[in-house]
């Protein structure tokens, strides 16, 4: 039941934001569409509905706010590299980083956060070995722990709190 309500709220919110209006017609049709879509899709979106909680939502919001800061720093860093001497500014390489989170959403959140910040991009995921292959524009270190701390730790901490 909780999963139905969660997906229903997502559907209704998307409907109203997309429509850009809150007349009686929009609300009635939006409710109907959200009920139908949630009935079809909710079981694929939420596997374990005991995990739906306000605390996790709070962690997600705090992550989004801190992620904007990380995004700005990464943009500034890559802009600086583009404008300086290209032979010294980049040291590209593909590194292998293991992850320790369990749920699909947590893994996806880490991978998409890495890809969304300029300078790093996940090029492949290996669920059997539980690791990402990440392209790094400037490989700063070849030590396993330091690589993990530089690229993944910030996202992994939040992903564990939000989804695991």
């Amino acid at each position: 039941m909780m999963r139905f309500i969660a997906v229903f709220l997502l559907g209704f919110l998307v409907y109203i934001v997309f429509t850009g209006s809150v007349s009686l017609y929009d609300i009635v049709s939006g409710l109907a569409v959200a009920v139908i879509v949630s009935a079809i899709c909710s079981r694929y979106l939420v596997r374990d509905e005991r995990k739906l909680s306000i605390a996790r939502l709070g962690h997600l919001i705090s992550f989004v706010i801190r992620f904007i800061g990380a995004e700005i720093r990464a943009h500034a860093d890559v802009t600086k590299r583009i404008l300086s001497d290209i032979r010294k500014a980049i040291n590209p390489g593909i590194i292998k980083i293991p992850y320790e989170v369990q749920s699909d959403y947590a893994i996806t959140m880490i991978a998409n956060s890495i890809t969304n910040t300029p300078g790093t991009a996940v090029v492949e995921i290996d669920p059997a070995e539980r690791c990402f292959y990440v392209h790094w524009l400037y490989v700063k270190t070849y030590k396993r722990d330091e690589m993990k701390r530089e690229v993944v730790s910030f996202y992994e901490d939040y992903a564990r709190r939000v989804f695991d």
């Binding site: 997906v7 997502l10 559907g11 998307v14 409907y15 997309f18 429509t19 007349s23 009686l24 017609y25 009635v28 049709s29 939006g30 569409v33 959200a34 139908i36 879509v37 079809i40 899709c41 694929y44 979106l45 404008l83 300086s84 001497d85 699909d104 959403y105 893994i107 996806t108 991978a111 998409n112 996940v122 492949e124 995921i125 669920p127």
Partner: protein, 260 residues
């Protein structure tokens, strides 16, 4: 920073400034004529005009009014051509057999698709349900719904979706339901007129001169534009199912196996 790189940076900044100056002050002369042609005046004065009820389509969105009311018969034959093309593809590629679930795309693509496909379903429904009010309509909404089905087909594989109810037979049934609904809506006012003992037009929506019978255009102040709302919703269902059928056949048709 070398002089070469500095030059690139300066030229990019100058280009952006020049372009924004040109667009802001209209140097590019992208002007719109300020006078309307008579045809445009005619459409604007009759798409939604309660004072000219007998001439008006009572549909606030002009393009949808033209598509489903002024030239509804033309749109009907466009739909017939579209389904003819789908039936042709189905006939060419043959029946679809039951598939085992394939590997699909990566875990990341699958997780994102779960969320995005759900949101696209909502947006497609919103486009169809607001066809009489804002740009869009049945075909556009249906095509958007089909996008959701298509990305799910690619991401999760045909076999995985078949197990969860997206079947060839189901899509044929849904498409037929939409088409039968459209035909019934086309004759709705005619059927009503027979019981009243007068004659009406096929595809008639609002009352017309000489035919004082027609659909209501609003309920409790909520405008739904009579037949236009039904045609939009049914067309969206038929188009979404039609496209889904096409992609199912394109992905999985023409292979030997256990018949679904």
């Amino acid at each position: 920073m070398s002089a070469y790189r500095a030059l690139i940076l300066v030229s990019m900044v100058v280009f952006a400034l020049a372009l924004s100056y040109a667009l802001t002050y209209g140097i590019l002369r992208l002007e719109v004529p300020l006078t309307l042609r008579d045809l445009a005046k005619l459409y604007i004065s009759t798409t939604f005009n309660p004072l000219k009820r007998e001439l008006s389509a009572m549909t606030p969105e002009g393009v949808t009014a033209i598509v489903w009311d002024y030239r509804g018969t033309d749109t009907f034959f466009e739909i017939v051509v579209f389904y003819g093309a789908i039936i042709g593809s189905v006939a060419l590629l043959g029946a679809v057999y039951r598939y085992p679930p394939g590997p699909g795309l990566s875990l990341i693509a699958k997780t994102v698709t779960r969320i995005v496909a759900t949101m696209i379903l909502v947006v497609g429904a919103a486009i169809a349900l607001h066809g009489h009010l804002t740009p869009g309509g049945g075909f556009q909404g249906g095509a958007t719904l089909a996008v959701s089905i298509t990305i799910a087909l690619v991401t999760f594989s045909l076999g995985a979706l078949m197990l969860r109810g997206l079947t060839y037979g189901g899509m044929v049934a849904l498409r037929s339901l939409g088409l039968i609904g459209i035909v019934l809506t086309v004759f709705m006012v005619v059927i009503a007129s027979l019981t009243a003992g007068i004659t009406a037009y096929v595809f008639q929506n609002q009352p017309k001169p000489g035919v004082p019978i027609g659909m209501a255009y609003s309920v409790d102040g909520i405008v739904f534009s009579g037949t236009v709302w039904f045609l939009n919703v049914l067309d969206a269902i038929a188009v979404a199912a039609g496209f889904a059928l096409l992609f199912i056949v394109l992905i999985g048709g023409g292979v030997e196996g256990e018949r679904e």
